[in-house]
Point group: C2
Chain length 202, copies 2
């Protein structure tokens, strides 16, 4: 049982230790670090967090976080508007954007179906995806969810929901990582790589 010389310190440590991956010891280190900073810097720090929570918007179209009603990606006219990539969170949007290989749009579900965690289809942005497809203009929906039971269930659920729509469903390729040696790949991945082989290009 740690005893703190100040209630304010104890409170700050308790709050900081609520962050994922931050224990009480790290939280104390962070609190003492903040205490050493200039008052204005700490104010900016707190303000940035408050603004993030209170002012950030979610794009009307793709549900990605955004500073505007419609996000930068959805309002970018140079992008391919007939391809929509379905992802779990905005983290995957950022990861795919960073590859620089995708020019279509996104749809952020906000998670995957997981009854055990209390996440049901109605908690996710699935209905808005179906509506978006039904409004027309979308030719391809790329399912880019995790290959976990929950991810697969969600992909299957979305596929069923979109069954009547004239849209091509695709999923991202699974295979041996670029640069990986075959002997270290797991069987399932290597199997997918063989089955979904692509034409060889020089």
């Amino acid at each position: 049982m740690q005893s703190y010389p100040s209630y304010l310190l104890e409170n700050a440590v308790n709050q900081l230790s609520k962050l994922p991956g931050i224990g009480k010891k790290s939280a104390l280190r962070l609190a003492l670090h903040l205490l050493k900073q200039e008052q204005q810097d700490v104010a900016d720090f707190a303000q940035a967090i408050l603004l993030l929570k209170n002012e950030v918007k979610y794009c009307n179209v793709c549900k990605n976080i955004s500073d505007t009603e419609v996000c930068q990606i959805c309002s970018d006219t140079s992008r391919q508007t007939d391809v929509v990539c379905v992802v779990e969170t905005i983290k995957e949007v950022m990861l795919i954007e960073n590859t620089g290989q995708y020019r279509g749009l996104y749809h952020v579900l906000g998670g995957v179906i997981s009854p055990i965690d209390g996440v049901h289809p109605s908690d996710l942005e699935i209905e808005s995806l179906v509506q978006r497809v039904k409004q027309g203009g979308v030719k391809e929906v790329v399912l880019a969810l995790s290959t976990t039971m929950e991810g697969d269930t969600t992909s299957y659920y979305i596929a069923r929901k979109l069954a009547g729509c004239e849209v091509t469903l695709t999923t991202i390729a699974r295979g041996v990582s670029v640069g990986d040696e075959l002997q270290y790949a797991d069987e399932l991945t290597l199997g997918k790589s063989i089955v979904n082989r692509v034409p060889y290009k020089n």
Copy 2:
């Protein structure tokens, strides 16, 4: 180069990544975590940090952080007021307090003398320590600084400053850790253990 879907997110990530040991990736994880919390919880989080920085006081006597003008330790009449343990930061106060083995008071220097880092004696609470001793009532000053060059320099500087005062100077014992095997102790530590041997008690 990471591109963020929102300036507010980017700003929060930049602020969070200023914390020690938090890189851009961890900062993004923390920001997305905060975004998922309730508005009130995030407000409490930011408030705790602001209060820590803006409202925390430093004890008039020992310079430890405190919620009051004189800290809990200095105002605790059951403590031994004639022994003062000199430490670098409030962290060491907490560590020593947690041992439950010390009943005297403290004096927090705020660091150690390190000209290379621009820390000079005048930047530390050395003068206030000397004044405190000169006011009388202190019989023993325990130097509990790091055994680094900077720590040793600081101990030496304080010893010189207190040379004229009628006060016993002591330093915490260095030796083989409790539970450690002798063969794994370094020579310097084992040497100190031998030289500063104490009477054997059953």
